[in-house]
Subunit: 229 residues, 6 copies
């Protein structure tokens, strides 16, 4: 993994998007937000939720962590504002269990909405009961150490995506999508428009109309040479 | 992935097995059907259900789709008869999200029982709430395009299996098994016989008899040289 | 996979740890036990439970099985004492479905608490309904044969771990951890101490204290050169 | 893996394409043939050659083999004509070492040009010295047994592709491509045309012309909105 | 994959490091450069060379490409200066064969030293004979299309690393390492110092001294509790 | 990975097999030795050589190493006798680059024949030029630290195999096979017998006889029901 920025830095004041925008993005969900911003921002599909049904959005407090070393998570928790989401990328691949129920207790007390971690997590039964959602690369109890510095609130690469501190993280059962903070308002607008449009289409699909007709596909398919036999 | 047949063809009239046979196979489930037909027909074990508990069977309406292009699903939905199952193989590997809640709404209106897709699916929370089961290689929100023709109701390779249109798809928490349409009646017969036989054995196991005795294994194990120490 | 010991042997009398120790380890769970014994004993993170929520511990009745051949499971079931856990390693990699509902019925009748299998399992819907937990490498219906001898109650390599017969298997949603039988009492003691200690910390985290302060991290972080900007 | 056809059958007389066509396809290589037939027929990219530099084509003598059982290869070798290629798919995934130097000695004596195997191979140092090329999923010394029937010269699924006996296998450092026997002549014609066309383009590229100009891309890129800044 | 920046942009004037610095980094190689810059900058270990023995460095001309679409490579080639390295990241995962011998001919004419591609490459036999080195995720002949815009010379995520246009790419048999353009001079200085230091150590190792003594490890090992038995 | 034995121990005096036995096993190679000892002892097929053509055997000096920490290799090198092979297993999965040209220089000076490492290696170009063969899980330049104790010459799990110090490691292009020290003489005898037997068969295969006849397979195939059509 690549380390953008320098290890050993904690950026304390990051800009965050407006809370109503963040809440709006949460309501739209990953697939809609991803489409609304031109099909960008998705993290890799190996990032799976530890339990089904959660849907969150929040400002990213980013963590750049050494392999098998979770020290920086303690540092990052102090930087959390209510509504934030922790997001951790590593300096080299690791599936160790960086995060468990004690850290979740601490993060929840600060109002943290969840964790995105390109590594492992443990105590998933407890986390499920606490209702603290995590999207991770692995579930693994392997312990970590506290020896080497990383950074907090620097840009990080996480599961194939570049995430800046303060970017909006949207996560649900479909995975994780990142929205640039400065594009958040316009993305929400497009996502809402898309939702409205989809509502209308859903009614037509429910009534039995076909996508072939709703989207006027028949002519173009024929032009491309589709043959019915 | 290999394209048997030619791209750009929609076969409209396919033969289907008798509905009572299909329903019988659904009741037997994947493991029993797989065994009953001589341990053939299983798709790869990376095909997993988006939610647990579903058990379906239906005639395959097959889709051969280009990578990252879901156009042919719209074409295929028009070909669905009540009770059918959509099954999609790709012309090159893809984990993009070909299918979501709008397509599911449309497919359900036509009586479709579920989707088998050697690629990605999205809106899984909605699909779960709608009760539309999907077995897929990935959950991924990545959008697809509508640019290139594939085919509908031609033979396709899907998750290591060859599937002809009209073959019976059986799917449950154990995975997906394909039954040739022309063998369906005889497979059901053998599967039912197997179920009956297993019922008797289950009672003996419940009563505490050992497989070593139920199946008369002790002598053959001794002949092979098994030593108790 | 390596075969420690010779194929074709069933060891009938193995030593087991005290039941109260085993029950104590079950209560602590995988992450705590793993930490308590110096971060050793974890099996690979591809070993996942077929349903969430189970937490078990038991003495390992070990099975060394040929690829695609489940014969030795029948032999092993006869060796089960109430409270034991079946654990299967293979002589060469396999994802076939070695175990299903009939074998589970038999194992449950002998008081078996669950199965750890570095291969595939099937009938997972039935196993879930029966409440028989399995941690496996794969869910796959692929049938197995009964042709070649393996061994029972010899040391086996399972999912990157070495397991001796009578070692204690602890398994929950975080995975599987092995405790040497002869170390079980001392590991339980340390695990209980850790639990007590964590209880106190949890209360402090719930009250809003930070790990930075609870663990006195600030000074050492500063020494390492952490900079707040 | 799915078993098309019935196990236990050896088809002795298969049709083969004309040798001059096969030789022509060998000369074109995988990438060109794949393009010439409309981008179909490629096997999965995990099929890699055991040594670099080989480029072959030949009629497929297909083998459908049980997992970990290489018996059918002996049966298939008797069916080889000079210039043929052995191609093996399995009834369930296996990385065992089905093939080594003795079988290669036998196959070479019959004029076999190489092996495509969706499983493992061994003795690769000897095979390299003998100049017998193999494209395989794995290199693994794991021994196989001779217990269960498969079939020879039936359609098989191999590395995501469907292969009929007598189809032409083209293989080189880029992988493996299958050409339908009945399409071979027309595919060769298109491949040769493509080669000729590429030769002209290569000269222009060598002279420093850009693809942007050779293919007249600038206008269409501008229409799509490409901006130079 | 995440798209930093906007699709549809070609940045024409990028800053490049001094050629003597780039040449110096090439001579040091990946492992030394990675260490010299504090163990950052390595791309994922799945990036492997198509042939052994190449060692290059150059300024990155970056390409952000849609899945299965190689149009932007043609655009990027026009932006190459002698000594540059092409580096391609995708907007969604793809193993298609984006690059072959014609594009290599064109790139070599512009003085390009090689390609780093988080996707597939083809014509590897030709590329090897031409001496055009490529580090890729896959070798695959699968054709690509020219339909959708990406960008050239914007920041891209490639194989877990963030790469800015003009960053220095160092690649050899150990993989690929990225050096920030603005840090290149200081990294080279540290790398050269490291090389000099290693030269001295190599002589001592060759003379039979042990690392235990060269690095004075014995005391610290004893303090940690290492026991010789 | 499981840690058999306790961390922090170096066993100095291990028993080794007779050198003539070891040399004999080297000459037989992996596939023959694996067969001769009843198809056991193979390590996982992801263990690949960094260059083709090497064939070695030697007594294992085993290393149990923490993830991302290569300190114990320095300790192990002091324990090497001429003709030994270093073999490293990790306490948790790691693909970091534990070993490079300086350590190889030191190991070669002690007469070490090669390295088997269930982790990463770097400087592979130098190692190739030095003729120091390595079989590894990964090639990766990622640096390691020297912070945590492991052990030397204790039993380790490496790539799915259990290896005791002093066991014989046989490695070639087919992978790696472990022979128990106490079984080495009898395994060599069987391997030599097998070689002699194969020599005779090779001559018959070269003369054109078929395996069907050499092994008298035709009758048994017919009994199993094989049909020629």
């Amino acid at each position: 993994m690549h380390k953008p920025g320098t290890a050993g830095v904690v950026v304390q004041n990051i800009e965050r998007a407006d809370q109503t925008i963040i809440d709006g993005l949460a309501q739209c969900g990953v697939a809609t937000v991803h489409e609304a911003q031109g099909r960008k921002g998705l993290l890799a599909d190996y990032m799976t939720p530890i339990y089904p049904g959660a849907r969150i959005a929040g400002s990213a407090v980013t963590i750049l962590a050494p392999p098998c070393d979770n020290w920086m998570i303690h540092v990052a928790i102090e930087q959390l504002h209510p509504g934030d989401v922790l997001l951790l990328g590593t300096m080299a691949p690791s599936n160790a269990g960086y995060f468990g129920d004690l850290l979740a207790t601490s993060a929840m007390h600060r109002g943290c909405k969840g964790l995105i971690i390109d590594a492992g997590v443990r105590d998933v039964k407890d986390l499920t009961e606490m209702g603290f959602p995590v999207w991770s690369k692995a579930v693994h109890a392997q312990g970590t150490i506290k020896e080497t510095l990383g950074s907090v609130n620097v840009p990080v690469v996480c599961a194939d995506g570049l995430v800046n501190p303060g970017d909006i993280v949207v996560a649900d059962d479909d995975g994780v999508c990142i929205v640039r903070r400065e594009e958040a308002a316009s993305v929400l607008e497009k996502a809402n428009a898309r939702e409205a449009n989809e509502g209308g289409k859903r009614a037509r699909f429910e009534a039995g109309e076909l996508g072939l007709d709703i989207y006027n596909m028949r002519e173009r398919l024929a032009e491309k040479g589709l043959k019915y036999v």
